[in-house]
Amino acid sequence: MYAFAYQRPTTVRQVQSALGKHEDAKILAGGQTLLPTMKQRLASPSAVIDLGHVAGLSGIEKKGRNIVIGAMARHAEVATSEVVREAIPALAALAGGIGDPAVRNRGTIGGSVANNDPSADYPAALLALGATIVTNKRKIAADDFFQGMFTTALEEGEIITKVSFPVPAKAAYVKFPNPASRYAMVGVFVSKKGSDVKVAVTGASNEGVFRAAGLEAALKGKFNPKAVEGVAVDGSNFIADIHGSADYRANLVSVMTKRAVTKALGK
């Protein structure tokens, strides 16, 4: 790891001003992606701004019909939160399946969302649940937030403070983990609220997380695993590597969607 200046602000305003002072500063939330990246010298920020002591970024609460999760909430907290488990059990289960127990004790929802790794689990949940990302400057709909692999709508000096999830009627997340890395080769989050159905796919595309319009249309007709059969999944821009071809991943999208719908129906 290359040398950097370490900053430990206590307010979001101080974070913003620290970001303004250092060129190439990076925000450190749980560090479970940033630190490995820095150790491999794939990132060499001039300054690391630690969010660990910043007030107002923690906590999980139910606000009206939404579950609001602080950006610094660890995966383990979301996984075990009574509030989340009761309102959106699929989200708690997703958080409980990220990495391993020690990683879940450090990794945060804000960090995962801001990083937008193409194989990360959380982005699929945000898209499929129609979540809103709250920053120090504005509120951003998940559909506008994720803009391709490792790319988001966040601007310079903009910090995620919380994520707000509308409570769905039914939801489930199913992933096919890579047998070695355990990252999702394909992960599918489905949700249903009234007549609206959303299907978000992570792990598969070179463009990062995306909503599968064809699958959504089919499932709006009938929210049933059978509805997925015969729906073509366009894998032309899917990831192809030693773990699986683009076609293989396209097929996985169908299979994971069927499983997720079955799970969402409680079967």
Binding site: Y6, K39, V48, P101, V103, N105, R182
Partner: protein
Amino acid sequence: MISVSMTVNGKAVSAKIDPRTLLVQFLRENLLLTGTHVGCDTSQCGACVVHVDGKAIKSCTTLAATCDGASVVTIEGLAHDGVLHPMQEAFRENHGLQCGFCTPGMIMSAIDIVNRKGHDLDEHTIREELEGNICRCTGYHNIVKSVAAGAHAMAGSK
């Protein structure tokens, strides 16, 4: 250089360190607590697991600076007055190790599992929960047995 202060195995420690010092480096090189191991150095293997404020974390993927003010427990902090912690004793009794390299991390993770999931652990739970700890000798069979036995023993030792 920045200053950090924390409690390690019940003792207050402070030092001036380079901000890029990882917690595992701080433990091993500053405090000479070499029981915490560096296996893969990429947060896969779990040989570096320690407890920070009561929770298992990978010390190779944590900056020492972020643990300022925290309470850290390492494998060296488990035995008291020459008596092994019940989980350590269970690993010895059940031959839960061969070369022993992964053992400190296994034991720290195992205690964390008991703290979260209680004393009655089935094999499936233990195997799932040990996802972040890799052993390259034993094939896990005796490790799983050790964790189950240690979990029971910890109930008795309370």
